[in-house]
Symmetry: C2
Subunit: 309 residues, 2 copies
Amino acid sequence: MEEKVLIFGHKNPDTDSICSSLVKEILDKKNGCNCSKAVRLGKVNKETQYVLDYLKIEAPELIEKVEEGTKVKLVDHNEFNQSVEGIEKAKILSVTDHHRIANFATSEPLYYMAKPYGCTSTILFEEFKKAGLKIDKTEAVLMLSAIISDTLLLKSPTTTDCDKKALEELAKIAEIDVNTYGLEMLKAGTDLNEFSAEELINLDAKNLEKDGKKFVIAQVNTVDINDALKRQNELESAINKEIEKNDLDLFVLAITDILNSNSEIIALGSKAKETISKAFGKELNDNRAFLEGVVSRKKQILPNIDANI
Amino acid sequence: MEEKVLIFGHKNPDTDSICSSLVKEILDKKNGCNCSKAVRLGKVNKETQYVLDYLKIEAPELIEKVEEGTKVKLVDHNEFNQSVEGIEKAKILSVTDHHRIANFATSEPLYYMAKPYGCTSTILFEEFKKAGLKIDKTEAVLMLSAIISDTLLLKSPTTTDCDKKALEELAKIAEIDVNTYGLEMLKAGTDLNEFSAEELINLDAKNLEKDGKKFVIAQVNTVDINDALKRQNELESAINKEIEKNDLDLFVLAITDILNSNSEIIALGSKAKETISKAFGKELNDNRAFLEGVVSRKKQILPNIDANI
């Protein structure tokens, strides 16, 4: 049997990571790479589960680590600290991503396709088009769900004209009303009640590093920030445990209101006060700050923190 | 006036770095990016001068450094230690490259297009094709010269079918006999007599780093290794000066016979003996080793040294 090539998105996978892995496997197979296989690095979140249920398809298989020399293709991430255990010794054949490049290195040439778009699936959509490949309904729903998720229904400032164009075309193929479907999908992801505080702060957490300083930016979506803040105490103690366990300098949890496009952040750690003040011109009050109009970790939160930690 | 976007290849530019910068500028302009401007980071070598003379065009302007926030597009390299002074604070809009990715990071998303081909110009050739753009004679000569240079007339093991296909199609457009033109061009680059030893070892030198160990792999092409070795003594003293000046652990100079596809290396520095022995299973004799069939720094020399230093 031919050796499998594993395709996966980042740890704490979001809808783009899961959907883009599945779409990349399909695209590879259409291009004759039959050994490609989508897998995932963590639990499927509720928003993504909504998509899989809608399509009546199974989530990709969960993997915990890869052995030395395993052939892999990354989607929706490149930083090793957001990737699978063992990534340093894997053979990375390709990366398809829409993030900054950092904490990434290979010893051999590879395929790397990054575009500064709102979503990895928009890049994959363009690959279908360039290769003259037809997109079927399932593929369209996978890609449009990823775009809706990453751009919060095109409201995030990360949204580009290419994302808009892709979503429009995919919606026609899928015969879906994007606003109705999208809001249902996003809302499915905001049902946070059954998660423990530990789970919540890890649902969509990115591990980052800058000049030896370690920090995490986690994000949860909600339709009611105040409702989420009722759990501030237990969230803080979960965050403090995480800080201690991983020797972090900063942990930021962004609670993002997907209806009104704002975020409340909870920031803890030795660098919290100073970094948030410099990054956003806001002083922490009860470890919190309200960031008006801020919804994008990638474009609005990370660069500011990265430049000021 | 619109702000310029500078396009450049690596320091000690080779034919691919110069030609791909020029071609990328043309491609950008055809795509409506009129502010793109090819520049270069060092002296034009004799092989590249042969191409420019053939086409009766000027070399791109020389730059020494870039200011903070300068918009740049990299071709044919990504590692910061091979790039322009000030690259860490430049705004990198895109990279088009065919090397491994290392010592590279951005704080924001960007366009990154890498393919594990023999030459950057082959990637650019595919971009012309995908965009449905016509390639004229000058563009074809620029791209085919880069491909001939990087693949040593398709004889280097870095050569892929895509490079072959591109070269074939470009030769038809250019109405050139690839072997005649290519050999003349490569030979022009082997005329090393008028260079000082210091210049020779820096003509095509790549600065590399692994776990804090600093090393350089330089390469010169020749049609007669023995002729080049007549200058071994003065080459060694130039190399030793470089080692001392830059606190290097290893300096490898590969003297590559482009007719017979072999290389003789001169290796100096505290890590020379051990690294070369482990990397190639060859003991240094008079600081030299003959590497049969080895012509590619990227595919045959660098990975072995990188894994064993």
